[in-house]
């Protein structure tokens, strides 16, 4: 249960102080997504983030995988990506926007139909029951 999972982005680049626990394993939905909220302190300019967390169930030898990707859909302007359908194209896992059905690669957020569209992605690790996401600012940020 404590193995950290593989994610598509390289988490070694993330300073260990930048990991933030966003939710618990039980909050995730297998084969689908949920959204999480994260905001920084005043000192860090009160920035807020909406993050979609997708869970691919464990299959055979592969452990469960969790991906963190921007919840904001750039095409509709609505915060809905976590409610998109999971899929794959040539074996590459994707999320499909629930409104206008663009496909985005989970590993790097690249849109498959439009080279100019790319969603932000974050590294994810699982520490015990905690689902942690690595930000590029220190984790002193307040999380609800």
């Amino acid at each position: 249960m404590t193995t950290s999972t593989l994610t598509a982005t390289n988490d070694t680049s993330v300073d260990s102080s930048h990991w933030v626990t966003l939710c618990q394993r039980k909050d995730l939905v297998e084969g689908s997504g949920v959204a999480a909220w994260h905001e920084t302190t005043e000192a860090q300019q009160n920035r807020s983030y909406q993050i979609a967390l997708f869970t691919l169930p464990a299959t055979g030898s592969d452990a469960m995988q969790v991906f963190a990707i921007d919840h904001h859909d750039p095409v509709s302007g609505a915060n809905v990506m976590a409610r998109g359908l999971l899929g794959d194209q040539a074996g590459e896992p994707l999320v499909i926007s629930p409104l206008y059905k663009q496909r985005y690669r989970l590993k790097d957020g690249q849109c498959m139909e439009d080279a100019a569209l790319r969603l932000k992605v974050w590294p994810v690790r699982i520490e015990g029951e905690d689902i942690q996401v690595g930000f590029d600012h220190p984790a002193s940020a307040r999380t609800a």
Partner: protein, 875 residues
């Protein structure tokens, strides 16, 4: 805002208004419409039905509410007297109005030849000897003149004249037709065709007098009037209706010094602009390349084009070549039923093309006549005349408008079936000019062009032509055309559902059923291309629908969650700003005051936008994810169930009030609608299903536009199937008559299950039916005569689904773990601060994106109260 004025609220003027609304021009124009008639635009094509039961209201093409909703001011009974081009104003009987652009849709007036003895317009004589047949008012006058009389004459044996004769007949008069030419319908028919038609018509008791020029009208001996003809003969009658052709209504244009054709008509260019570029003319008043088009379809084409020009001119630049409009004339082929007799005229019906050869088939016993006109080399079909039987019309029209090579023996096209193969054409025979995607105006020719340019799969063709990327309504048609085109080019067509399954939907359905597969992952493991694949937005919802159609397990069960599209997952329709609509079921549109109040209470409490839909129920818009369970909790407590508006499933059973209140009703349509809705609610199918039940033939519930339509008869119910509205409307077809309640239900059971079994993904019953080999007769064989021995199985399967029905929201509310997803954020209580509403007409609507700050608002906007959306008033 600019001012746009439309003169004339007839069929074409009305269509122009509809198109302006649709294309968004109402945001940039203040639109005023002036109509001389008292009535809002009505269906002139079906004018004659005014005498057979329809009233002005049911012939109306739109309603005053539509105009108000579109922000358009409609001035009825207000004639435009002149156009002051110098000041950019029009002058009406009541005042002046400025315009920036002007559209003339003044139509035409009946031509009354100058005959000695005609009553002066408006005189007492004119009320019986100078009647015409064009407007509802005209028909009122004819009706008044016919009261207590016995004989009526129509001058003019053309299409409209024969309709008028039929009208006189339906008023109980002995009807006569007087025609100047040597045959009936001289424009459309040749001599033999005219002769055959005359036979039919005289057999119906209508007198036909050919080669007769009326020279004078004098008081008669036995009847009120006596018509004297040039050849010395005469005919007496009580009333005379003129239908001797139409004249474009161009008087207004003349006085405004616009260019007018030699024989009348406002001259227009390919963009329908008159000699004043800010003034357009469309419909029957317009003269294009010296031609007047006396049919609605060309007028509609003009209306659509002008609307798009006006809409585009307000969007600033219109750089896409596809947006420009160019009227290119129109096909004048006609297919009619006159006095119950089929008449068809296609292309060069008279064989006027140089060297044209004709084939003729004439069956005097049955009164059937067919003429086929082909080119000198017999390779092209140029035209045709049909009398007494129009069953070949569609196929022949395809040959002509499509320039399809004629069969080796062209005569086979008109000979009876026994002497040759009856030749029919499939979907691949659509003309290149046929519009496939009306959102982006993509024709079949454009699609073929894309294929020729090397795009040989659906995705690439969609990307390059934009076809099917608007509302998506044309997806099935597009796929059909693309498949047919690729196949004809020798490209092997892949019928796989998507990259994950090498099967069609029908094959997957059988696999699911035969192997009792109950989950998506099981199906993927056994039959997917890659056992562990995740699927995609094509196969997941399709399989979800198949599983539901077969087993009807709650869609929110954990094993079903991953395959549901977001609307099914959250049991609500996602709207453009990420909020949801809530649609409780209101069976048959029947609702108690208490329930209405309950809906109102909920909408008020959660600050939802409410609208009554075309499906006879009430939609509540703007609910946020976390509010859905609470809202549904309250609705269910008030006695509602989910309306499945989010699913490809039974939507509504529309109904009229029937015998319970209506003085015309012959069956209890309300009770039947409730029974049907209760039986089929929640039924998941390849596409949405719409039903309707009418209590008598007046058909107030519009059942003939539904997948399943039921119309009451004296003896039971008539069943219609496979109709739909939407972008390609299709009338439902009569499937069975005078059924009793139980037979009606079992027939519908079988029909629906057979559709679910055999239809393609996202295929409406109409498209499914059109692709069905053997057509309606085959369907009747299978469903009614049980030719495949499937009847019992189909009924049993339906019964299982009916028994397993459970309101999905009630089920979800009973299982707290299913509700945990209904939170905007797993780690925070706040609603989505990105949802910003404004108030318009006293209700919320999503703010235009420009009003929403690009950075999501932070702490100050994070209050967690449900109605804390930022609301800005706009005026």
């Amino acid at each position: 805002m600019k001012n746009l004025i439309i003169i004339g609220n007839g069929m074409v003027g009305h269509h122009c208004v509809e198109q302006l609304i649709e294309q968004g021009a109402t945001a940039h124009y203040q639109i005023h419409v002036f109509g001389e008639e008292r009535h809002i635009a009505y269906d002139r094509v079906h004018l004659s039905e005014y005498f057979t039961g329809r009233d002005a209201e049911s012939l109306a093409l739109g309603s005053a509410e539509d105009y108000i909703a579109g922000g358009i001011t409609l001035h009825l009974d207000e004639v435009v007297i002149s156009i002051d081009r110098d000041n950019g104003e029009i002058v009406t009987s009541r005042g002046r109005h400025p315009y920036d652009s002007l559209v003339m849709a003044t139509g035409s007036t009946p031509f009354v030849p100058p005959i000695e003895g005609l009553g002066a317009v408006g005189s007492a004589e004119a009320a019986s000897n100078r009647l015409v047949y064009r407007t509802l008012e005209d028909l009122d006058q004819i009706r008044a003149a016919a009261k207590g009389k016995t004989r009526g004459v129509v001058v003019g044996g053309g299409l409209l004249g024969l309709e008028a004769a039929n009208a006189l007949k339906s008023l109980g008069l002995e009807a006569h037709v007087v025609e100047f030419a040597p045959r009936l319908m001289p424009v459309q028919l040749d001599e033999d065709g005219g002769q055959t038609l005359k036979q039919h018509i005289t057999a119906l008791g209508v007198g036909v007098h050919l080669n007769r020029a009326t020279t004078s009208i004098v008081p008669g001996d036995d009847y009120k009037w006596r018509m004297n003809f040039a050849d010395g003969e005469h005919l007496e009658t009580d009333l005379i209706v003129f239908s001797a052709g139409i004249r474009p209504q161009d008087a207004l244009a003349r006085t405004a010094s616009l260019e007018i054709g030699e024989r009348g008509g406002i001259i227009i260019d390919d963009e329908c602009r008159t000699s004043d570029p800010e003034i357009f003319a469309i419909g029957e008043c317009a003269l294009w390349q010296s031609r007047i088009f006396g049919l609605v379809a060309p007028g509609y084409q003009m209306a659509r084009g002008v609307a798009s020009l006006l809409a585009a001119s307000t969007h600033g630049e219109s750089d896409e070549a596809g947006d420009s409009f160019c009227f290119q004339g129109a096909d004048m082929s006609t297919k009619l039923k006159l006095l119950g007799v089929d008449v068809g005229s296609i292309g060069d019906a008279h064989g006027q093309t140089e060297g044209a050869i004709s084939y003729r088939y004439c069956d005097e016993a049955e009164g059937v006549y067919r003429r086929l006109v082909v080119s000198k080399d017999r390779k092209q079909v140029l035209g045709a005349v049909l009398v007494g039987d129009n069953s070949r019309y569609d196929t022949l029209l395809q040959y002509v408008s499509n320039a399809i090579a004629a069969p080796k023996d062209p005569a086979a096209l008109i000979l009876p079936d026994s002497s040759g193969e009856a030749i029919t054409l499939g979907a691949d025979a659509l003309p290149a000019t046929a519009t496939l995607c009306s959102c982006h105006n993509v024709s079949k020719g454009d699609v073929c062009g894309a294929i020729d340019a090397g795009h040989n799969d659906l995705g690439a063709i969609k990307a390059s032509t934009k076809a099917s990327t608007g509302c998506g309504g044309c997806a099935a048609l597009l796929k059909k055309v693309v498949d047919a085109e690729l196949e004809s080019r020798g490209v092997e067509v892949d019928h796989s559902l998507c990259e994950h399954f090498a099967h069609t939907r029908q094959e997957l359905y059988s696999l699911v059923r035969v192997e009792s597969i109950e989950t998506f992952s099981e199906l993927m493991a056994r039959h997917g291309r890659h056992a562990g694949a995740l699927g995609c937005e094509i196969c997941k919802p399709a399989v979800g629908s198949i599983l539901a159609s077969c087993w009807n397990a709650p869609i929110t069960d954990p094993s079903h969650i991953p395959q549901q599209d977001t609307n099914d997952t959250f049991m609500a329709n996602m709207q453009k700003n990420g909020t949801y609509s809530v649609v409780p079921r209101i069976p048959g549109g029947e609702i108690t005051p208490d329930k209405l109040i309950a809906i109102g209470d909920v909408a008020k409490r959660y600050n939802l936008y409410t609208k009554i839909t075309g499906g006879q129920r009430i939609d509540l818009f703007g609910a946020q994810l976390h509010e859905l369970p609470e809202i549904w909790g309250e609705l269910i407590a008030a006695g509602f169930e989910t309306g499945h508006a989010y699913g490809k499933s039974t939507r509504t059973v529309k109904s009229c009030i029937g015998t319970t209140w209506c003085r015309y009703g012959v069956q209890d349509s309300m009770a039947m609608a409730l029974r049907l809705e209760d039986r089929y609610k929640g039924l998941r199918s390849p596409h949405k299903l719409k039903f309707a039940v009418s209590g008598c033939t007046r058909e107030c519930a519009e059942a003939q536009s539904k997948d399943v339509g039921v119309i009451a008869t004296e003896n039971g119910w008539n069943l219609y199937v496979c109709g739909n509205g939407g972008m390609r409307p299709r009338h439902a077809e009569l499937f069975a008559t005078d059924l009793d309640d139980e037979t009606l239900i079992s027939t519908i059971d079988r029909f629906l299950m057979f559709y679910i079994r055999t239809a393609d993904r996202l295929q409406r019953t109409s498209v499914w039916r059109e692709g069905l080999e053997g057509g309606l007769d085959y369907l009747k064989d299978v469903i009614i005569d049980d030719s495949l021995g499937l009847g019992d199985v189909l009924e049993t399967q339906m019964q299982l689904l009916v028994e397993r029905y459970e309101c999905e929201w009630a089920n979800a509310l009973k299982h707290p773990e299913k509700l945990k997803r209904f939170r905007s954020y797993v780690n925070d209580q706040r609603p989505d601060p990105g949802v910003v509403n404004i108030v318009e007409r006293e209700q919320i609507r999503p703010a235009p994106t420009a009003l929403i700050a690009s950075d999501a608002p932070t702490a100050e906007a994070s209050s967690t109260k449900t109605t804390s959306q930022l609301v800005t008033e706009i005026r």
